[in-house]
């Protein structure tokens, strides 16, 4: 076994080196992005974990096929960095790494790769933002070749969390996306996040087409998830659930989509705190004991401008042919730290400063564990200085733009150096970082109008591209207690009417379902498109008010899905290995990339009765005064007289006749 592996690894290294040679003959890949030939490829550092990927059992023919393919897609490069003088020659480096892989495989007692069909990857991306904040994005991916939907099959869970596996099989889930976010992502200051999420909790689920009662399954699923994540997801009911007709297409593989099996809900009020993070961390194979997850101290993570944790389950391609699928669980955690203000104006950060911990090891169960630092704006090191220096550099196409990253491979012991700990430190040289490019797409929303009866929702969508128009799909969910006047809906851009090419509107039903408005709008280049719609505020029944009604009522974020023109060509091959942060949204065309952004949630005041005690006391005393004092006053001031009993009808008629006849009247 050992010998076989060694042979395999060496052979693999050879193949890789060959691949590199071929590539180097073609282009000299530097850190310069403008090198046209390398633009359309995701060049990233070749990690030799390929060797663990390739099980030793399959026949050699398969192997060659696979490697031939790998050779095509990987384009593995080990870019030489000028910063490091004593970088070893490439061939040696490769061999070293290969040896190292061998070491890890021998020392850690993994089960044989043929039986374990699951793997786990972890990575942390750190991006210094132009505003001076630091964006840290954790991604953990567990992949498992299993079939949850065969309910009678006995499954032994290894890396995949059992609680989620059971949820998938019980409710026949096809895809599940859940996010908990505290704070609002400021696109204009921070650029685009790797994975967008709205403030509060968001849940959208695609069910398998075998589910007969989708609403029931959805209801039970939200209850179960509320238990798993300690969140109030059980507040998701028919009044805030919608079934979008065009948005939220499945992110995983699958050839059929019927929007009947989609459910989407947002709870904008949901608070996110340690109690949500605790169960989220428990789903990781290493928990918070080892690997990147040791950095997740809630006291630090929540002391931030933005905190978002998410979980995505979807089927993905098992191999490059994509004939069969495996399940992917992706756990992401995005934080923006405002170190500029807390650091007494010094622009300097380190892992220890951010998380009050340093890294000492990779998660032993992880097949890859990496830390990426974005150094795109700093090619020659004039802006900031990164220490310890790393020889590994990776390039990836993220959100339509080519980025360069310094990579720290935690599975390599050399990364930790003499101190056996890794504390990435970034010291700024320049006082100001350069101007940030304006994000191409940006959305805003607010409520206009005064008083407590009517109002107007304004949604602004910015297209900052100088010469290209692109389509966006806007999805608005408005609760029933804001009655939309849909005839007042206007869409204008550049002062002219912009007729949406597709409108789907589902009116609300009181206490049953919310408004759903979906519009496909073409955004002209360099423009602001404004969508306005008027509404009336409904009166609630007094038990329907929340305990703090004067706080106001939330309306969830609008969702803007767009196909944005990309600066560099996107990689349409969705099956190949890429860094996790650049491989979430599948890409179909080279010239555009898919992006989803969320606007601010709205806080709307509804006409609220005064529930306070003084008010009730006043009401009560007024009643007592009116009834008690009023009747007494009445008694005292009124004069009473004895009323003459009135005559009967018959007698009166008789008297009229008697008067006519001239005879005496009856008394």
């Amino acid at each position: 076994m050992g010998a076989e592996q060694k042979f395999l690894v060496c052979w693999c290294a050879c193949v890789c080196v060959c691949a590199q040679k071929r590539l180097w003959e073609g282009t000299e890949v530097g850190t310069n992005l403008a090198d046209g030939a390398s633009d359309n490829k995701v060049d990233h550092v070749h990690d030799t974990m390929q060797a663990t990927d390739a099980p030793p059992s399959p026949p050699a023919k398969d192997q060659t096929q696979r490697f031939a393919f790998d050779e095509r897609i990987w384009e593995a490069t080990n870019v030489e960095i000028n910063l490091v003088e004593d970088a070893p020659p490439i061939r040696d480096k490769e061999a070293d790494e290969a040896d190292h892989v061998l070491d890890t495989m021998q020392t850690q007692d993994f089960p044989p790769p043929s039986t374990a069909k699951d793997q786990f990857q972890e990575e942390l991306v750190i991006k210094p933002l132009h505003s001076g904040d630091i964006y840290a994005s954790f991604q953990f991916r567990t992949q498992w070749d299993t079939d949850f939907l065969e309910k009678h099959k006995f499954s032994h869970y290894r890396l995949f969390p059992k609680s989620l596996g059971q949820v998938i099989s019980k409710f026949s889930v096809r895809e599940l996306h859940i996010s908990f976010t505290q704070g609002y992502w400021r696109t204009m200051q921070w650029g685009q996040p790797f994975l967008p999420s709205p403030p509060g909790a968001e849940l959208w689920v695609w069910f398998q087409d075998t589910v007969t009662d989708v609403d029931l399954a959805w209801k039970e699923l939200t209850n179960v998830l509320s238990g798993i994540f300690c969140a109030s997801l059980n507040f998701i009911d028919s009044t805030n659930t919608v079934q979008p007709s065009a948005s939220f297409k499945p992110l995983g593989v699958g050839n059929v989509t019927d929007q009947r099996f989609l459910r989407y809900a947002v709870l904008p009020r949901e608070i996110v705190c340690t109690e949500n993070l605790t169960p989220w961390k428990k789903l990781l194979p290493c928990g918070s004991k080892a690997g990147l997850a040791v950095l997740m101290k809630s006291e630090k993570l929540f002391h931030s401008s933005f905190h978002s944790q998410a979980l995505h389950i979807r089927p993905v391609c098992k191999d490059w042919q994509c004939k069969s699928t495996s399940w992917e669980l992706r756990q992401t955690l995005n934080v923006v730290f405002d170190l500029h203000t807390s650091g007494q104006g010094k622009r300097e950060w380190s892992l220890f400063k951010m998380f009050s911990r340093t890294l000492t090891e990779a998660c032993p169960l992880a097949s890859s564990s990496k830390v990426y630092v974005d150094i795109t704006d700093n090619p020659q090191g004039e802006l900031f200085e990164l220490s310890p220096a790393t020889p590994l550099v990776s390039q990836a196409v993220v959100l339509g733009d080519g980025r360069t990253y310094s990579v720290y491979d935690l599975t390599d012991h050399a990364t930790f150096g003499q101190t056996h700990s890794l504390n990435v430190l970034l010291r700024w040289r320049a006082a100001e970082s350069g101007e940030m490019l304006r994000p191409l797409l940006h959305g805003e929303r607010y409520v206009a109008g005064y008083g407590l009866q009517t109002g107007e929702i304004h949604t602004l969508v910015y297209n900052n591209h100088p010469y290209r128009a692109f389509p966006v799909l806007l999805l608005d969910t408005v609760p029933w207690y804001l009655r939309l006047y849909i005839h007042t809906l206007t869409v204008t851009s550049k002062g002219r009417d912009n007729k949406p090419s597709y409108i789907h509107y589902q009116p609300s039903k009181d206490r049953l379902q919310p408004h759903l408005l979906e519009m496909l709008i073409q955004l002209p280049p360099n423009s602001v498109t404004e969508v306005t719609v008027q509404f009336e505020r409904a009166l609630l029944k007094w038990t329907e008010y929340t305990p703090d009604p004067n706080h106001g009522f939330y309306v969830g974020s609008s969702v803007i899905s767009a196909l944005v023109p990309s600066v560099v060509a996107m990689d349409t091959n969705n099956t190949q290995e890429r860094p996790l942060f650049s491989s979430f949204f599948p890409c179909k065309e080279e010239s555009t990339y898919f992006m989803r952004i969320y606007t601010e949630p709205l806080l709307v005041n509804l006409p609220t009765p005064d529930f306070s005690m003084p008010y009730n006391v006043i009401c009560l005393t007024c009643t007592v005064v009116a009834v008690g004092y009023g009747s007494l006053y009445n008694l005292l001031t009124r004069t009473f007289q004895v009323e003459e009993p009135s005559q009967g009808l018959a007698k009166r008629l008789a008297n009229i006749i008697r008067r006519l006849r001239g005879v005496p009247l009856l008394t």
Binding site: K153, G227, G252, S298, F302, C322, T325, P547
Partner: protein, 401 residues
């Protein structure tokens, strides 16, 4: 005997105390039978307290930032019971507001019980089961009586049985005979007493310890009538419960007096402590509390002096050790996967187009109501016209129009 108890406590911390008590008792009663019935006595004392599992329902009923102290109260009890061994799955924690991640909290993700940020009772692995708007009188009573919707997850249920010792801790703003929930509704002492009676008839508890920290707290347990309930309150009827530990950095009072001293008392308890309920009654005398803490034991059948603190605040498992070898003769039969493997899908799967513009534009609006097919309607009209002309002919047309 004492040494035996200590050595036993190496394996099982808690049995030590009950062992001592029982052996003492047996010494008094029948000193001669001790040796002969030693094993039976040992076996019997495992169940001397009568419970096999522990549960805790901890409720903070107050909303808004200035009620920080009520959340800290509840969390400090949570911290203690968790430290003494009740797992999160056996604790139903209800917090009416989020103080830890409140925007006014200068130190997010913390809730402090002591001044100068000394003790963070929120911890790093808290699990809150009911929070925010979920904390209502209805939900509280449903948790107690177990009448929850069928899809409620286990973590939100009180799955106790007739061998469970339950600790119920309430804190919030109250008055004579009621406790307010979220400033918008209240639970009365009669409702609470009836809920406990329902729990008793449903055999949902073995013994119940009720603690309440609120103004006029003693009024809340006056109406209890179900057996095996011991109750404590922070103040008598007509008294206010007072706050403690004002903190300048956080800007509010951190704790209430009674729970503050209760926490100090509980911090000294460890799983093998022999401290009993009599000691708990002495917590926070009037000199410290300003109010007079009250207790009620007439419904409780055991002597409070023999009831350990850990009977309610901890989950102490009784472990019996055997030296005999046990053979597991029937190993698990590995089930072979005999069912046919599903044939490999031949078609190539692809990722979906995330924004299929052309497809969206040409999406047909769905016909909601059923409509008869056009051909049918056309045929019907033809038939009607045919019958008309057959009957009247063309010449009668002028009579109609």
């Amino acid at each position: 005997m004492g040494t035996a108890g200590v050595s036993a406590s190496c394996i099982n911390m808690a049995s030590c105390s009950s062992l001592k008590i029982l052996t003492l008792l047996s010494l008094f009663l029948s000193p001669t039978i001790v040796e002969t019935n030693n094993i039976e006595a040992k076996a019997g004392q495992f169940f001397s307290s009568g419970h096999t599992n522990n549960w805790a329902v901890l409720v903070c009923t107050s909303r808004f930032w200035f009620n920080y102290r009520h959340v800290a109260n509840t969390l400090s009890v949570y911290r203690s019971v968790k430290r003494l061994g009740i797992p999160d799955s056996h604790i139903v924690l209800m917090l009416a507001d989020d103080m830890a991640c409140n925007h006014r909290n200068p130190k997010p993700a913390t809730v402090f019980s002591h001044k100068n940020m000394e003790l963070n009772v929120y911890g790093d692995d808290v699990e809150v089961d009911y929070r925010g708007y979920e904390v209502t009188v209805e939900n509280f009573l449903r948790v107690l009586t177990g009448r929850l919707p069928p899809s409620t997850p286990r973590s939100k249920r009180l799955l106790s049985d007739d061998r469970s010792n339950i600790l119920i801790y309430l804190t919030g703003h109250g008055g004579n005979g009621f406790l307010k929930f979220q400033d918008s509704e209240e639970i009365s002492n009669v409702e609470l007493a009836d809920a406990f009676e329902q729990m008793w008839t449903k055999r949902r508890y073995n013994e119940l310890l009720f603690i309440i920290d609120t103004c006029q707290g003693a009024s809340m347990y006056e109406r209890f009538y179900s057996p095996n309930i011991m109750a404590l309150a922070s103040s008598q009827v007509g008294e206010d419960s007072l706050s403690h530990q004002p903190d300048l950095a956080i800007g509010v009072h951190l704790m209430d007096r009674y729970t503050f001293y209760l926490l100090e008392f509980l911090e000294d308890i460890h799983p093998s402590s022999t401290t009993n309920m009599k000691d708990l009654f002495k917590v926070c005398p009037k000199s410290q509390c300003v109010s007079t803490p009250g207790h009620r034991t007439d419904l409780f059948l055991r002597d409070p002096g023999s009831v350990l603190i850990t009977d309610f605040f901890g989950s102490v498992r009784k472990v019996e050790i055997t030296t005999d070898t046990i053979n597991l003769t029937a190993p698990m039969v590995h089930l072979e996967d005999t069912r046919p493997v599903r044939e490999l899908r031949t078609e190539i799967q692809t990722y979906m187009d995330q924004l299929p513009v052309a497809e969206i534009i040409h999406q047909k609006p769905k016909q909601k109501d059923w409509h008869p097919p056009d051909g049918f309607i056309l045929g019907l009209w033809t038939l009607i016209l045919l019958v008309f002309f057959k009957t009247y002919g063309i010449k009668h047309l002028k009579h109609i129009f």
